[in-house]
């Protein structure tokens, strides 16, 4: 495939004719809020891997337009050619980081299989009926001694960098794989030897910065969570701060015991800010990181206490497995997967987040355990927020083997996608019980859904140069 010329761009992004930029996305985060229209469809990855369903994983097109007759339904699917991929995170060939790049458009979704190391490219030229455009086979990835693709970011100009959690054997070290502007494998992005563990990353070009986080080697996390691996030091607890242009690690911050398994790294959206947040999932804390006088710092700013469960050996940790920042940089949203909480914190003072509201839904302790009569089975996991900050959606599956450990019923019932209405002026959330997408009803058998993306940019993929 080749990236299209500017003449093909009409109709995919919203209201760009009023601006002097010719590329995809929005000039600023505030422009994304003002110019975007409410999302009408979502792309959601869904998996059968690890379940008794002999079918490939797929990308679902979900109708999220309340005016539509198919609201809350999966209206189309891109079935992938192989089984066993475990789709997890995915991203675009171009976003707002290319908003000055004429001739580019946000059109191709890069959809890796975290288990298979197979990378799919989906063409969303027809937003309602995307099609599989090409496939990078695992051997092409292994050739660069990499495996287990995770976070996909375009880095401007149509090229893509994917964080890779392991080497070709599924062991350490991980690294980064670069795709060229035709979305073929270019090679390794960084010089070898910069990191061991890897997971998520985000870049903030005006500060010449990138931050990456740490899960574990594929051979450790893929078979499932084992406390022995934590005790053996097989899980990460550091943040790596990179020189974005040089592609080298400049500073490592060890978050220590309170920062075990730092997952999603989210810079504030304003390209001027050198502040961000990361959720230390296992320690059930959120850290604020920031740059001052040329040095990066990190400090725990939110701490979720474990809760006692009758008859269980130890207090159950909250396990906040995902966070995101609203496009206006006012709120940090997150979900505590085990406890069953969705929360929003006011981060107008990033060093001192203030709890604004939360919902108790799903998980082990949620007050709401079913929606429209559908048992929720698991807790809130992957989140996505509308660009205007008024609708928060989430799915309930983390990773097949971890689901099978902590919420085993999900293997038979599948996962769900839920929604809350958010009042970003009052700092409140309300569960919208009219909305439910039941991935347990997929014809081939139950599926588990993970990351959510909007066709025209969202709060976890767009970066500004």
């Amino acid at each position: 495939m080749s990236q299209p010329d500017a003449s093909e761009q009409a109709g995919t992004e919203q209201a760009h004719e009023h601006h002097d930029h010719a590329g995809p996305g929005y000039m600023t985060p505030q422009a994304a809020i003002e110019e975007s229209t409410p999302e009408r469809r979502a792309y959601v990855v869904a998996n059968h891997v690890g379940m008794d369903v002999d079918a490939p994983d797929f990308v679902a097109v979900v109708d999220v337009d309340p005016e539509s007759g198919t609201y809350g339904e999966i209206t189309d699917r891109i079935d992938l050619p192989n089984m066993g991929d475990e789709l997890h995170h995915f991203g675009w060939n171009a976003c707002s980081s290319s908003c000055h790049m004429g001739g580019l458009e946000r059109r191709y979704l890069v959809v890796p299989g975290n288990r298979s190391s197979r990378i799919h490219v989906v063409d969303t030229k027809d937003r309602d009926h995307p099609e599989l455009a090409s496939v990078i086979e695992p051997e092409e990835v292994h050739e660069h001694d990499l495996s287990a693709p995770h976070t996909v970011h375009c880095i401007g100009g149509g090229t893509v960098v994917i964080s890779m959690l392991g080497d070709a054997d599924g062991d350490l070290p991980g690294g980064f794989l670069e795709l060229d502007d035709d979305l073929n494998v270019q090679g390794r992005w960084e010089p070898p030897g910069e990191i061991d563990f890897n997971y998520d990353y985000w870049y903030q070009p005006r500060h010449n910065a990138m931050v990456s986080s740490e899960w574990a080697a594929p051979k450790t996390y893929q078979p499932g969570f084992d406390m022995d691996d934590v005790e053996a030091g097989n899980y990460g607890h550091e943040l790596q701060f990179w020189n974005w242009e040089d592609r080298t690690v400049e500073q490592t911050l060890d978050l220590g015991e309170e920062g075990m398994i730092p997952l999603e790294v989210r810079f504030l959206h304003s390209p001027e800010h050198a502040h961000g947040f990361v959720n230390a999932a296992l320690s059930s804390n959120v850290f604020h990181y920031w740059k001052r006088d040329g040095e990066w710092h990190a400090e725990k700013v939110i701490d979720f206490e474990g809760r006692e469960m009758d008859g269980w050996d130890m207090p159950v940790p909250a396990l906040p497995t995902d966070i995101l920042i609203s496009m206006d940089d006012r709120y940090l949203f997150g979900g505590n997967w085990l406890h069953g909480d969705v929360w929003m914190y006011d981060i107008s003072d990033p060093a001192n987040p203030r709890r604004a509201d939360s919902l108790s839904v799903g998980g082990y302790f949620g007050d709401v355990q079913e929606v429209q009569g559908r048992e929720l089975v698991a807790g809130p996991q992957m989140l996505q927020l509308s660009l205007d900050g008024e609708r928060l959606y989430w799915t309930t599956s983390l990773y097949s083997t971890w689901d099978n450990t902590f919420f085993p019923d999900e293997a038979e019932q599948g996962s769900v996608m839920l929604k809350a209405d958010v009042n970003p002026r009052r700092g409140t959330m309300t569960l919208d019980e009219e909305f439910l997408v039941d991935f347990g009803e997929v014809p081939e058998g139950p599926a588990r859904a993970h990351e959510i993306r909007w066709p025209d940019g969202d709060c976890t993929s767009d970066v500004w140069m």
Partner: protein, 138 residues
């Protein structure tokens, strides 16, 4: 069963090559090559299947017979394909990184890299991998 066994010779194929493709010989069964192993697959819901492995991993042999088994990485890292050896012997052709020593001691194998050395029986299905999962807080 965990050695880095990799067969580098295959006398079976050379024997097969000598067989003349005579159309009137269908009543005479071809001799079963020595390295062909019969793999009996057993699911916990009572299903069963029997496939033939020609010096290849159990997963490949099953796929060639149109039998679907769970799998993920196909390199021995992710454990999605975990089965349990009930009878016979297999050799992992790469290090079975997804399994810990106590899993190997208990007979768990990775069908994506486990090559039978003779006839064997393997318990398969996604529920076998779930044996290895323990909620540490429960």
């Amino acid at each position: 069963m965990t050695g880095d066994f990799q067969s580098d010779s295959d006398p079976v194929e050379s024997e097969s090559d000598l067989v003349e493709p005579e159309s009137d010989s269908e009543s005479e069964p071809e001799p079963e090559p020595e390295s062909m192993a019969t793999v009996r697959l057993r699911w916990r819901d009572g299903r069963g299947a029997s496939v033939t492995a020609d010096d290849e991993p159990v997963l490949d042999a099953a796929e060639e017979s149109g039998v679907g088994l769970p799998f993920g990485c196909r390199t021995g890292a992710c454990g999605t394909c975990t089965g349990r050896l009930l009878d016979g012997e297999v050799v992992h052709e790469r290090p079975p990184r997804a399994l810990k020593p106590h899993h190997l001691d208990d007979g768990y194998v990775l069908t994506c890299i486990a090559v039978p050395t003779g006839d064997c029986t393997v318990e398969v299905g996604t529920d076998v991998q779930r044996d290895l999962l323990v909620n540490p807080w429960q």
